[in-house]
Symmetry: C2
Subunit: 214 residues, 2 copies
Amino acid sequence: MDLPTMEDSKIIFALDVYDRDTGIELAKNLADQVFAIKVNWPIILENGIKIISELSKYSKIICDFKLADVENTDKLITEKVAQYGAWGIISHAFTGIKSLRAVVKSAGQMKVFSVVSMSQESYIDNVYDKLVDDSLKAGVFGLVAPANRPDRLKKIRDISGDIKIIAPGVGAQGGNIISAIMAGADYIIIGRSIYDSPDPIGAIKKFNDEATKL
Amino acid sequence: MDLPTMEDSKIIFALDVYDRDTGIELAKNLADQVFAIKVNWPIILENGIKIISELSKYSKIICDFKLADVENTDKLITEKVAQYGAWGIISHAFTGIKSLRAVVKSAGQMKVFSVVSMSQESYIDNVYDKLVDDSLKAGVFGLVAPANRPDRLKKIRDISGDIKIIAPGVGAQGGNIISAIMAGADYIIIGRSIYDSPDPIGAIKKFNDEATKL
């Protein structure tokens, strides 16, 4: 791949928009400032999964689909996403190791990240250690843990070895880049504070500066 | 709505296919034998959400999207799905009452069903009572609970009053219609045993007969 992506950026841009043209324009303009771009279901709804191939021309694309279904359904989704050239996919881990293994197996070359704790309180909060354990056993590439809950993030880092951790919750959800990186995040996911900014490139540059100060 | 749907059927058909033409053909042929048709992400991936409007000509459509994200993302997905005429949407409940309330609010006229236990073992198994409680407080229309785990389904029915329960896990996942209905399910979700059958209409009729024997 010969992408404009900035490999040493610690920022993953969360492109949470519906519209194709807005999405492509943002990806094109911001790709060289970020490590990767994360998309969620909103942009798939109106455009279908083919938008992933289009966006992959500009950046590594992580499909944040928060897979949370039984083994067979998670497999059906993952296989199809892999065909369209996504770089990574995000699955929940609470569904258990069978679903996680099905996702890792169907992902092929695509990297699998598993959610071991969310950026809001939820009923998986008390089992984060089991979710980490299952994720490592299933052979995921990385974990998703909350940037806006640095104490929890640190606990997760402490039991996760050197596996990559990507962390949402900075900006609109109140998290802070410095504390998240200090707590053990490798990459920080930021969405609304960038795409809702009157100057998205300026906003990312500011976040990149902040992250590299450490 | 003037749909061919069989209102007194207890079967919800899980249309878990990727392809538009296959999906439309199955919906057209099977709609008059079922209470509703449930679709998951696979059919959306290649076709986009507009397939929901097409399928809604034949049956009430429940979007089994297992929403499992933070409040804002679940809201973005639900609002868009509602615009395309889905009859219902399925959300996880473990994400907490804030996400559930956001889904119910954004759903408008669309019915919200929340998953309080899955058809496979998972890390939300021990909190099903809390998930029921939050679901009732958030004002969902119905619950999703496993047909293939009738003991658990009965426990959920016992604490859920007379709210509708739809239950997956019959057929490929080993559940049985009679025991699921006796345990408290109102509707049984069946997919692979129908669409993988050489005679899908015959398969549904057999399930309908079985369900009405009670």
